[in-house]
Amino acid sequence: MAIANILLVDDEKDFVEVIAKRLSKKGFYVTKAFSGPEALRAMRKADFDIAVIDLKMEEMDGIEVLKILGKMAPELPVIILTGHGSEAAAREGVKCGAMEYLTKPCDFEELLGKIEKILER
């Protein structure tokens, strides 16, 4: 049985694939979404324990996704991934309900640490 269900949202496919594989090996069940709309479709189909969302996406901005997720599943903990130098966006994300943020390129161990921290709460 999976430790937790994670929704991984980023339009960088290769990044999503490798992170998903590593998280799976650690025992997580990972649903991959390569855009905001895809993430929202996934949300309607399943429940998740954590969402990891990249803020900078082309089709739908991460903040927008966050806001909609906040209405769909207000209790869902979200970790946002921001580019270096976008602290303002990170603060915006936190205001919109994100629990944690990491700057990209993020360390897998760091991400794992934050996920485990959230699950412990």
């Binding site: 960088e12 290769d14 990044f15 490798v18 992170i19 594989k21 590593r22 090996k25 580019g83 270096h84 130098g85 602290e87 990209k104 390129p105 993020c106 897998f108």
Partner: protein
């Protein structure tokens, strides 16, 4: 371009010339105009004054001379009417009358004579033996016989001495006779001689033929003809019967002539004076005015020259500063573009690097499930994967710094941990320091309060100071030490180098805009002034201490705020 070279450019030389010309023209024009007008008016007034004065002089003398002649004529006429010809023919009687006249008038009357209708002087009273002298062939006798009275021109006479005579004609028993008096030339001449003015002004009398009737004190500058009298009448203007004219003599010298007709128009009393002597005061005034104009002109020229030179230097300096500012703007623009480019590249590199690192991590994860035949291979795999991770981190660090640098244009105020900024700056300068043999040390106090300021601006200041320190150590290497500590409520940062130091004379100007000791083209002189402005805006202080051949330390004090 140095100020000296800039001033040699044709544009600035031309500007200097134009400015000089305009200032001189604007200054000279009114000076010349006003001087000219005043001098002209003064000259006219002075001429009128001199002419009026000389005219009065001549008029007065005319009256004197005419009066003299009339008086003498009246004396003789009175005698001729008061006594009979028989009485006057008595020599003793005549002598007594002569003596009476001489008692009254001095030596004016030289002699008296009674001349009959045949021109024979029948009676004579005087110093010479002229009894029975015959004058029938003389012109004066002819003229005297043709009018009731006659005053002759000056002539030499039988004795060869200049004199003139006054005659009165009377009749006795139907026969005309003449009472004649010889008037002393000396006495008469003294009337004319007394008309003197200035150094060269004198008078003389000419008869209708242009012959001198007096002995002038100076050389009369004219040709001996009646045309001279006519020339005077024609050349000048007339007022109250006085002629004023200015004519050049044969030598070219300009003379002033003031003349009037006397003796019923037979004679002309002429006053002559060198024009330069007559108007010497005016000439003197003109000379003084000219000297003043010349001196004033020199002062104007020198002032205009210095003023235009100074102004063009200022203009050139301002142009130079403007050029430097433009360069700075262009450089800033280039930097901003480069920054944007760097940010773009950094963002683009980040993702592939992250993927690469994570794939290496994934391989490492998979290796945990694998059985390796030899420990060596497993160790090597782990080493290689660790290396990928390390180099990936290194790439990440580089892009992080690049992005941090690219955020320079962002001046928003935020919470700043100064040690972090210092470390960033050390990182930026590490490569350059390595190539310049400079060792960068840092002694940063922990847990300094968070500062509320623009991250990019304080980074810009520290980077500028670091670059200056590196510039000073470029040739010989050395040490740079960055220190941060807390003093009361202030966070203090120092950047110290052991470079050549800054001379005392330059220290006070180090924060002045455009002040630079770097060669032309190597520094705009704006860096430290911008730093000064930024720190002041942050309500901080920036200061410098330096000792020549020992080193320089910059101190920055910033008001801190306690972390909540």
């Amino acid at each position: 371009m140095s100020q000296e070279n800039r001033l040699k450019e044709p544009y600035y030389k031309s500007l200097t010339r134009k400015m000089l010309f305009i200032v001189i023209a604007v200054s000279f024009a009114p000076l010349i105009m006003v001087s000219g007008i005043i001098l002209n008016q003064f000259s006219i007034s002075y001429h009128e004054k001199v002419n009026a004065h000389l005219g009065e002089l001549v008029l007065k003398n005319r009256q004197n001379i005419d009066g003299f002649l009339l008086e003498k004529l009246n004396n003789i006429r009175f005698m001729s009417r008061s006594f009979t010809v028989e009485e006057l023919r008595n020599e003793e009687f005549l002598r007594n009358n002569l003596a009476a006249l001489q008692t009254e008038y001095g030596s004016v009357f030289e002699d008296l004579g009674v001349i009959n209708e045949k021109g024979i002087q029948v009676t004579y009273a005087g110093p010479f033996k002229l009894e029975n002298a015959g004058y029938s062939d003389t012109e004066w006798f002819r003229k005297a016989m043709n009018s009731d009275f006659f005053i002759s021109d000056v002539f030499l006479g039988l004795r060869g001495l200049p004199h003139f005579i006054i005659t009165v004609k009377q009749k006795s028993n139907g026969k005309p006779w003449i009472l004649r008096a010889t008037i002393s030339f000396v006495a008469f001449n003294s009337l004319v001689e007394n008309l003197r003015n200035g150094k060269t002004g004198f008078a003389f009398i000419l008869n209708s033929k242009g012959e001198l009737q007096s002995k002038p004190g100076f050389e009369v500058a004219y040709g001996k003809s009646d045309s001279f009298r006519e020339s005077i009448k024609r050349a000048g203007k007339t007022k109250d019967g006085v002629f004023f004219s200015e004519m050049a003599d044969d030598s070219g010298k300009e003379n002033l002539y003031v003349a009037s007709l006397i003796k019923n128009g037979d004679w002309m009393l002429i006053y002559q004076q060198d024009k330069s002597d007559a108007f010497s005061d005016l000439t003197h005034a003109k000379q003084i005015a000219l000297i003043i104009i010349l001196i004033g002109g020199m002062v104007i020229f020198v002032t205009a020259f210095l003023l235009s030179k100074r102004m063009v230097e200022r203009i050139a300096q301002a142009d130079g500063e403007k050029e430097l500012m433009n360069q700075q703007v262009i450089e800033t623009g280039k930097l901003a573009s480069l920054g944007e480019l760097a940010a773009g590249i950094a963002h683009e590199i980040n993702n592939p690097v992250a993927i690469m690192v994570e794939e290496a991590g994934w391989v490492h994860d998979l290796m945990e499930d694998e059985q390796f035949s030899g420990k060596e291979n497993k160790d090597e795999f782990e080493r290689a994967l660790a290396q990928i991770k390390t180099q990936g981190k290194r790439c990440r660090e580089i892009t992080r710094k690049l992005l941090s640098f690219a955020r320079k244009t962002d001046t928003c105020v935020e919470d700043v941990r100064i040690n972090s900024v210092i470390n960033d700056v050390i990182g930026f300068c590490a490569q350059r320091a390595k190539f310049s043999n400079v060792i960068i040390n840092s002694k940063l106090q922990e847990n300094l309060p968070v500062l509320r300021m623009s991250h990019t601006e304080i980074q810009q200041v520290l980077l500028n100071l670091m670059n200056n320190a590196l510039d000073s150590l470029e040739k010989r290497g050395g040490n740079i030490t960055l220190t941060s500590w807390l003093e009361g409520d202030e966070v203090v940062i120092s950047i110290a180098d052991n470079g050549p130091g800054i001379p005392r004379a330059n220290l006070s100007r180090i924060f002045d805009p455009f002040f630079t000791t770097k060669p032309v083209g190597k520094g705009t002189g704006l860096g430290l002034s911008i730093c000064y402005g930024i720190i002041k805006k942050m309500e901080g202080e920036i200061d410098v201490r330096s000792i020549v051949d020992a080193g320089t330390t910059f101190y920055i004090r910033l008001p801190g705020r306690r972390e909540d």
